[in-house]
């Protein structure tokens, strides 16, 4: 029978739906299993017919609408806009759920697919949103890799059925993730568009409903995308959600989290600030903000404020201990920036107190113990620091930073044997950690023969190569697959490796300067710009930040290697290393510094002086350059200026015994014997507690 007019189709569809409801309402007359099955089949087939006819009706209606629209006789749009009514809508949604409720997941999914494959019309949007979301839910919650069956495009020929999407080059999913993501993509587009933006009271209800629909889609997206570490995509989606999420804490918070994962820390901080306003009592939000300030953004003042905000919840809050840790980290990081000794001391004491408080509140937490120990180490209270580090390791025996700290503490006690054993054990656990390896090389340089240190360096270069392969692998691969553009999507373990490499880089670059001073950060930014200008020919290295990062790592290794060769008196090799780094980052202060070292070693003091001055003009807080400049000036008999340089260095790095020692020498030759004696005494005292590498190489992290 030909049912072509939309009106007839509508009536037939409703008739089938109502028939289905009626059968459902009549309770089965007897308990026969056969009868019961028969009855269910009937219900389902009614609902399915109703669904097919309804979709066909909508498609026909769309056609009519278009013709009307084309012939400019747009009359009763209002009438045409109306929905298909609750009866049909429920009937359509019922049929797949009916299957699933009776345990037939596969048929349910099949029915969902049939409904969704029907070509949409402007009247079926809301329905499609629900169906797409529901199928995505089913796929994410009930289907796994091993049980998934891809959809088949061969349509059945039940008449009359709605038109379906066909054609060449259709995207056909072939695993559960692809299908779920495709559905969510469609649902997101519809949901974002349907969202009611009018916030007046009369639209309140409509707005609530669309908002909830959209939120449900976004929740599913988060679940699906985080599992695959697709954070960039997720943050883009949340960004689109912002337009209808005014004052909705959940979406804002999710947006902030997705930005953090996508490493867009500056924006994340702004969003977190807003979240703080929406939920002033939440403790996790300000703590996360504080963490970002300390670890990525170097906004120590702001971080301290956020930590204080988190502490407003009171000391008996479970997060109070961690909030005190954050506060202490803030004080301690800020202390390094201070120019005046008194300010520094106050902040160091404040930091120590915060860590003590954190430890008292949660005695089992390794993190507060570790930070307490690190703070004590910086204050050169070696005995106590060792005690607390060991305690931290008792609670978390593989905490890499505690292990590293203990190594340094042992070396400060000149207990090199034990330090060596410990760092070897630590490297068993973390064989790829460049920071640990650098410390090991330094130890080897002092304890046994420098040849060992060279071996360690070789190992580091090899590890660096692996790091670099992670980056380049991906790029070359995607270039082959899609030569037109670079599209890459990494999995979780690559993502983790990259984060790790990032952390390592901050750890390594701060080795030289000893801290994350504002000047160093400014310097490295300036350097980056300078190098970009200087080496525009060398575009590959400079253009991509990811590649930049890995090359900087390599740079650090070359620099250390150059120093090592210098101490071995192997000038040729040292020169080679310097030219390697100079190729990578020609205008870096570190390169200028190492050049100076080479000249100094060759006793070409004028040239050395020029190099150090270059380094300092790029980064005024580079203590090593200041120190060596002082030494060179001393050699050049310019003791007045040498004194000035060394005093600056001592002020910048008050625990460096070398600086104090050379200051003593300079003062002596200037004839200030009393001052010289004092300096030598300080140097001696500091030397007794000095580790092979400054304690500040250990990063102050919340983990």
């Amino acid at each position: 029978n030909q049912m072509t007019t939309p009106r007839l189709l509508h009536i037939y569809a409703e008739a089938y739906a109502i028939k289905g409801y009626c059968i459902e309402k009549i309770s089965p007359s007897n308990t026969s299993k056969y009868k019961a099955e028969k009855r269910e089949e009937q219900i389902i087939s009614c609902f399915e017919r109703a669904g097919d006819l309804a979709l066909l009706y909508l498609q026909e209606k769309e056609k009519t609408f278009s013709t009307l629209y084309a012939s400019q006789s747009v009359g009763p749009i209002e009438e045409l806009q109306e929905n298909i009514g609750p009866i049909l809508e429920t009937a359509i949604q019922q049929s797949p759920i009916y299957y699933i409720k009776h345990g037939d997941l596969e048929k349910g999914i099949g029915r969902f697919r049939e409904l969704l494959r029907a070509v949409e019309s402007r009247f079926s949007q809301g329905l499609r949103l629900t169906l797409a979301r529901q199928l995505a839910e089913v796929l994410l919650r009930g289907v796994c890799e091993k049980t998934y069956k891809p959809p088949s495009i061969k349509g059945d020929l039940v008449n009359p059925s709605p038109r379906k999407y066909t054609g060449d080059g259709l995207f056909v999913p072939d695993n559960e993730t692809e299908e779920a993501l495709l559905l969510l993509l469609i649902a997101e587009v519809i949901a974002t568009r349907e969202a009611v933006l009018n916030r007046s009271a009369e639209h309140k209800q409509a707005q609530n409903i669309t908002f909830q629909n959209a939120t449900a889609v976004y929740d599913l997206l988060a679940i699906a995308l985080v599992k695959r570490a697709q954070f960039d995509r997720l943050s883009e989606s949340f960004e689109r959600a912002m337009k209808f999420s005014f004052k909705e804490f959940h979406i804002w918070y999710q947006f902030a989290n997705s930005l953090i994962c996508a490493r867009k820390y500056n924006r994340a901080l702004l969003i977190l600030k807003e979240c703080c306003l929406l939920r002033p009592k939440n403790v996790i939000v300000p703590l996360t903000a504080a963490k970002l300030c300390f670890e990525y953004l170097q906004k120590y003042e702001d971080g301290i404020l956020y930590a204080e905000k988190a502490l407003e919840a009171g000391d008996d809050h479970p997060m109070a201990s961690r909030a005190y840790v954050a506060l202490g980290i803030g004080y301690s990081l800020k202390a390094v920036e201070m120019k005046l000794k008194a300010d520094r001391q106050t902040l160091h004491t404040k930091a120590l107190n915060a860590f003590l408080k954190a430890h008292a509140l949660d005695p089992n937490d390794y993190l507060s113990l570790f930070h307490l120990a690190l703070q004590l180490a910086i204050l050169r209270q070696i005995e106590d620091a060792i005690k607390y580090t060991r305690l931290a390791l008792k609670y978390y025996s593989e905490h890499i930073h505690s292990l590293h700290l203990l190594v340094l503490l042992l070396s400060a006690q000149k207990n090199y044997e034990e330090a060596m054993q410990l760092i070897k054990a630590a490297l068993e656990e973390y064989p790829d950690n460049l920071s640990l390896l650098l410390t090991k090389a330094k130890l080897e340089e002092i304890v046994c023969c420098p040849e060992e240190a060279l071996n360690t360096c070789k190992k580091m270069l090899k590890i660096w190569k692996d790091f670099q392969e992670i980056d380049s692998d991906e790029k070359s691969l995607s270039l082959i697959l899609h030569p037109m553009k670079v599209s890459e999507a990494t999995d979780r373990s690559t993502f983790d490796k990259k984060s790790q490499a990032n952390l390592l880089l901050t750890e390594l670059t701060d080795r030289e300067t000893g801290s994350m001073r504002a000047e160093s950060i400014a310097a490295s930014r300036m350097e980056k710009n300078l190098s970009e200008v200087a080496s525009s020919g060398n575009g590959l290295i400079q253009s991509q930040p990811e590649a930049q990062r890995t090359w900087r790592l390599l740079n650090q290794i070359w620099l250390y290697l150059a120093e090592l060769y210098l101490s071995l008196d192997k000038m040729e090799e040292a020169d080679a290393c310097v030219s390697e780094t100079a190729n990578l980052f020609p205008l870096s202060y570190q390169v200028a510094y190492i050049r100076g070292r080479v000249y100094e070693h060759k006793q070409k003091y004028q040239e050395a002086k020029a190099c150090y001055e270059n380094a300092i003009s790029i980064n005024p807080s580079h203590t090593s350059s200041l120190q060596h400049l002082g030494m060179v000036l001393h050699e050049l008999d310019n003791d007045k200026l040498a004194e000035k340089m060394l005093r600056d260095a001592v002020n910048m790095e008050p625990t460096s015994h070398q600086c104090w020692f050379y200051l003593g020498l300079v003062l002596e030759s200037l004839g200030h014997s009393e001052g010289a004696a004092n300096c030598h005494a300080t140097a001696l005292e500091l030397e007794l507690t000095s580790p092979v590498v400054a304690f500040t190489v250990i990063p102050r992290l919340m983990q």
């Binding site: 089913v138 995207f171 568009r193 909830q212 025996s397 068993e428 973390y430 999507a489 979780r492």
Partner: protein, 320 residues
């Protein structure tokens, strides 16, 4: 303690001939007694000399060509991971040698295909502007042209996502431990619909235990700041009853975000397939731990799951 049933099981498998193996495999997952005693055996942190042979046999099962044998071993994977992590956190490195070997062996098996090639999984991330069996870009976009809309079109081809090949490891150390455990969790998840309800239940409990051991008061933290708060479902019972003899808390078990996310995807399945209560509790527990550790990625997932459970418009656990 090693029970009679387990001893018989150890002996029986060794005596099987090749022909018997298949029928043995087909029936092994029905042996309720055996499964019960194995679960309670692992639960008691058995001494090394008892643990080793059991682990060895389970590894034999795991690498067997019989799917059912492998599945039998898979059922115990969460329990074994828990046992391993809790032994480690108590500083008992030597006592867990057998479990470690089993986990490492299983991991190395999972990194390659049956024919020994490194396993690479990949899928395409669909792009909106390509036609699919479910949509046609021009249809949906009857909306006014905006920047966000344009950005959807900027991408014409689906992006390829690929995972693996995973490195083979000779030993487990601090830097690869969580990658290994997370991948094993993934294997459990990828076969989870075929595993027993009992295994699901125990999996939920174990997730809670891993994240709560050593803590006594984590749950409080967002009771007081969730304005649209529901009664907090979490029962932080395990944190209390697992304290040591002296009344002191046990050492906490370190976790990693990757590992927690894999646990969550397993829990998400369990939650909607019969374990609404236990699964929900475990999700809450992980949420509190992730808040404590400030893991943004884990919080994305826990927030999403918890919100969708709260919001009645979506599908509910009872829907199956």
């Amino acid at each position: 303690m090693i029970t009679r049933v387990i001893k018989d099981w150890l002996a029986e498998y060794k005596s099987l001939s090749k022909e018997e193996l298949h029928s043995y495999a087909a029936s092994i997952r029905q042996y309720g007694d055996l499964i019960t005693s194995l679960f309670s055996f692992f639960d008691e942190s058995p001494p090394e000399e008892e643990l080793d042979p059991v682990c060895h046999q389970l590894y034999e099962f795991y690498r067997s060509k019989e799917h059912e044998l492998r599945r039998f071993a898979l059922e115990f994977l969460p329990t074994l991971i828990w046992l391993y992590m809790s032994l480690l956190s108590r500083g008992n490195k030597n006592g867990c040698g057998g479990v470690e070997a089993l986990l490492l062996g299983a991991y190395n098996l999972e990194t390659v295909d049956v024919d020994g090639k490194p396993r690479i999984r990949s899928f395409r991330i669909p792009s909106f502007s390509q036609h699919s069996i479910y949509h046609e870009p021009s249809h949906i976009s009857s909306a006014p042209l905006t920047e966000t809309l344009l950005s959807r079109y900027s991408q014409t081809e689906p992006i390829c996502w690929k995972s693996g090949p995973y490195p083979q490891y000779e030993s487990i150390n601090g830097s690869n431990r969580y990658d290994i455990l997370a991948l094993l969790m993934q294997c459990y998840n990828s076969d989870i619909p075929n595993l027993s309800t009992r295994s699901h239940r125990i999996f939920c409990r174990i997730c809670s235990r891993i994240v709560t051991t050593g803590f006594s008061n984590l749950k409080k933290e967002d009771e007081d700041d969730d304005e649209d708060d529901l009664p907090v479902m979490s029962r932080f019972s395990n944190a209390m009853d697992k304290s040591g003899h002296s009344g002191e808390l046990l050492p906490r078990i370190p976790v990693s975000p990757f590992f927690l996310i894999e646990m969550l995807s397993g829990l998400y399945f369990a939650l909607f397939n019969g374990q609404a209560g236990l699964g929900g509790g475990a999700v809450d527990d992980i949420h509190y731990r992730a808040s404590y550790e400030l893991y943004a990625d884990v919080l994305l997932v826990t927030n999403a799951i918890r919100n969708s459970l709260r919001d009645k418009s979506g599908g509910q656990p009872e829907d199956g």
